[in-house]
Symmetry: C3
Subunit: 145 residues, 3 copies
């Protein structure tokens, strides 16, 4: 069973490490700008780093949910590769947002694009399973025939 | 194996699409009220939409965790049906909160109720597994006898 | 299959109950301090409780991701025990933060330590699987020889 999820598990742990890196950046920014918890407002430089972390945290469960559905129902290797691409796009987003609000845009569009591909892969894989499980229709065999 | 999780996977992807819809509404509200990131405060109309998205994001991992435990340990079909009910309640919550703070209350109570049923189903299913696995006690067989 | 995840499932449901408890504390604090949604700012006492819940929510998907990878690829019992330790540390963090900002520090360091052990267990377990799956190298057998 583990051989069907080991690539997904590896990307999941990498994703956790990236989230940890973002959390650390907020801690460093709090020290640099002298903004102690529970305060969350401050100069735009601080708020951009803070919002970059919050946005990445909000998307993390969504990313994991899609990574695993796409990997289980479509193709593990492809899902893991898209996962790595997403984590790279998130890193660019964080670094871009830290520099200026406009520099977050290109990587956020890119990461959204990756998520849409993961949604399509998940939906296709699940649809394929439904059709072969309930209707007895095997699309892949039809395409090959 | 996939036939034990395909309904859960389908509800998970639907849930992701709903979260995506909520994120889009915040983007539209930012444009409509002229509130650029990283700012998160503004007129109550904007803050209600923003908080509705944040609250839904905070509950999303909790929802997924319960959906999957209830589906794996109690009954997949029932868990998936409760999952659809939860997603519907979340949609009503978002639309209600957008209109006024008080209109979020009925759907949030309803969605909490659905989560409590998922918690009960998960706990019962896991307890049943523990009893049959460690004590050799099969409750369902006892009830049938 | 379920006997490989039942301890992880039990800790997951306990974690959800803890998150529910934190959400309730914010609702009680909103009433006590008269801060109606969508407002999120108020006296430091309220903001500490609010931020304690937000921080716990942001870490919840990270915790679950690590709990399950460590449990599937390293050792279910150890992962579940570390999971209980994490949930206890989170409870101390919430209670500490409610009292004062500085009292959140010891438990947050402790909970981070537990997460790092879960990361190490996950990474080791996945690495072990990669080596035995792709290279045919069984580290455990080597250590025993």
């Amino acid at each position: 069973m583990l051989d069907q999820i080991h690539l997904l598990a590896a990307v999941t742990v990498l994703g956790v490490l990236e989230q940890g890196y973002f959390f650390l950046q907020v801690i460093y920014a709090r020290r640099a700008f002298g903004i102690s918890p529970p305060k969350i407002s401050g100069p735009p430089e601080f708020e951009r780093i803070f919002r970059a972390q919050v946005n990445s945290s909000e998307y993390f469960p969504i990313f994991l949910a899609l990574l695993w559905q796409a990997g289980l129902f479509f193709h593990q290797g492809l899902a893991a590769a898209l996962g790595l691409l997403y984590l790279y796009a998130r890193y660019c987003y964080f670094m871009g947002y830290r520099a200026s609000s406009s520099e977050r845009l290109t990587p956020i569009y890119f990461s959204s694009g990756v998520l849409w591909i993961l949604i399509a892969a998940s939906a296709l894989g699940i649809l394929h399973f439904f059709l072969s499980h309930y209707v007895g229709l095997n699309i892949l065999q039809l395409l090959r025939a």
